[in-house]
Amino acid sequence: MSTLRPYRALLGRDLRLAWRRRADVLMPLAFAVLVVLLFAIAIGGVEERLAPMAAPIIWVTVLLSGFLSLDGMFRGDVDDGALDQLLAGSSSLVGLMYAKALAHWLLYGVGLTLAAPILALLLNLPVELLPVMLTSLALGTLGATQVGLIAAALTARLRRSGILLALIVMPLFLPLLIFGSGSVEAVRFGDSPRGALLLLAAQSVFLLTLAPPAAALALRIGDE
C-alpha cells in the first residue's frame, strides 16, 4: 500500500526550499516586470497603443519568466545526489514528477499569475480584461509547467542547457500562448472567451497526463 507520503514530502520539500531561498523565487517575478518595462519603453508608454497589446505582452512575459526557472528544477537534485536517491527509491517516479510539477506550478505559475495585475497596471490593460487574463494565465501556466518539466528532465544532467531548454519548450508553449492570449483577445472584441479557455484547459489537462511519465522516462535515460 503506497501512501502519498513520499509525494507530499517532495512537494513540501520543494516549497520549503523555495521559502528558504526566497530571493530565487522572486527572480522570475522581477524579470517579468523588467520585460514589461522594456516593452512599455519601446512602445512609448502611450496608453492607446499599450492597452491593446497589453494582454499578448503579459502572456509572452509570463511564459519567458516561467521558462527562466526551469533550469533550477532538477539542477540542485542532480548536484547533491538527491535525484539519484529518488531514482533508487521505491516511490513511483511518475508520482514524484507530479509532485515536482505541482510545486513548480505553485511557485512560478500561480506566482506569476498573482503578479500579473502589476504587469497589467504597467501596460494599461483595460480592467475588464483582468479576470479573463488571470484565468487564462492560471490555466496556461499549469500546462506550461508540464512542458517545462519534460524539458528540464531531458536536460537535467547537461551542464549548460539554457538555449536548448528554450528550443525544446517554445514550440510546445505555442498552443498555450495561442489559446491563452486568444481568450483575452476574444473578450477585448466583446466575444465570449469560453471556447479559447476550454481549449486552453484541455491542452493543460492533456499535458498533465503526458508530461510526468515522459519526464520520468527522460530521467531514467540519464543513468544508463
Binding site: 536548448l164 528550443l167 498552443p175 481549449l199 515522459a214 527522460a218 544508463e224
Partner: protein
C-alpha cells in the same frame, strides 16, 4: 520468428545493414533522380500555368512535396524513437538521428520555396499563413531534437533523450496544427487562403505525385547514406569496417 521481425533483427547487425545500404542506395538514388527529372520537367514545361497565380504556381512542385516529406519524416523519426525506447534497438537510434537533419532540410526547403512563392503571388515574402506558420514551428521541433541529441556526450543516451522529445513532439504536432489554424482564422479570418487546394486536374496533378515519389526515394537514399556513415563511425575499429575500407565498396 515472424519474418518481418527476423528481417528487423538482421538489420540490427551493422555489417548486414551496411551491405543492405550498399545494395539499395544506388536504386533509391537513381529512382529519385529519374523521377525528379521527369516531375520537374513536367511541372515546369508541360503543366499549364495556373489561371489565377500564373507561372509562379510551378513552385508548388517542390514546395508541396517537401511539406509532405517534412511531416512524414518527423513521424518516421518518432516511430524509430518509440522502437529505440521500447526495444532498445541500436539501429532505430541511428535511424532517428539520421532522420532529423533530412526532415529539417525538407522543412527549410518548404519555408524557402513558400517565401519565394509568396512574393510574386501576394507581394510579401512571409505570410503568416497557417500552413507556413506550422511549418516554421516544425522546423524548431526538428532543431530541438537535433540539439538535444548533440548535447549529450554519450551518443546513445543522446539518441534516447531525442527519442523522448520526438515522441512528445509528434503527439503535439496535431495540437500545434489545430491551434495555429484556429489562431489564423481568429486574426486573419478566411481572407488569406494561401496554398488552398486549387482545382487541380490531370496534367497539373501528375508532376506533383511524381515529385512526391521522387522525394521519398531521395529520403530513402539520404537516410541510408547518413545511417551507414554514422554506423561506420561508431564501429570504425571493428573488423567489418576495416574490410569495407579495404574493399572500397
Amino acid at each position: 520468428m515472424h519474418p518481418v521481425w527476423r528481417w528487423f533483427h538482421q538489420m540490427g547487425s551493422p555489417p548486414y545493414f551496411y551491405a543492405f545500404s550498399t545494395r539499395w542506395m544506388p536504386w533509391f538514388g537513381g529512382l529519385a533522380l529519374i523521377l525528379g527529372a521527369i516531375g520537374i520537367y513536367k511541372g515546369l514545361f508541360i503543366a499549364p500555368a495556373d489561371y489565377l497565380q500564373g507561372e509562379s504556381f510551378r513552385i508548388i512542385y517542390i514546395h508541396v512535396p517537401s511539406a509532405w516529406m517534412s511531416l512524414f519524416i518527423y513521424l518516421l523519426m518518432a516511430i524509430n524513437g518509440a522502437i529505440a525506447l521500447i526495444w532498445r534497438i541500436k539501429l532505430s537510434e541511428i535511424l532517428l538521428l539520421s532522420c532529423a537533419p533530412i526532415g529539417a532540410m525538407f522543412t527549410a526547403v518548404t519555408l524557402l520555396t513558400g517565401m519565394l512563392w509568396g512574393k510574386p503571388t501576394w507581394g510579401t515574402y512571409w505570410v503568416w499563413d497557417a500552413r507556413l506558420t506550422s511549418e516554421l514551428v516544425l522546423l524548431f521541433l526538428y532543431f530541438g531534437v537535433m540539439a538535444l541529441a548533440a548535447a549529450y556526450e554519450d551518443q546513445r543516451q543522446g539518441a534516447r533523450a531525442a527519442a523522448v522529445l520526438a515522441l512528445v513532439g509528434v503527439v503535439n504536432i496535431p495540437i500545434i496544427h489545430f491551434s495555429v489554424h484556429w489562431w489564423n482564422t481568429l486574426h486573419q479570418g478566411e481572407t488569406v487562403r494561401v496554398f488552398g487546394e486549387t482545382s487541380m486536374h490531370g496534367s497539373m496533378l501528375w508532376p506533383l505525385l511524381i515529385m512526391a515519389l521522387a522525394t521519398k526515394f531521395y529520403f530513402a537514399f539520404a537516410l541510408l547514406l547518413r545511417a551507414r556513415s554514422m554506423l561506420l563511425e561508431q564501429e570504425r575499429g571493428k573488423q567489418w569496417a576495416i574490410e569495407i575500407a579495404q574493399g572500397g565498396r
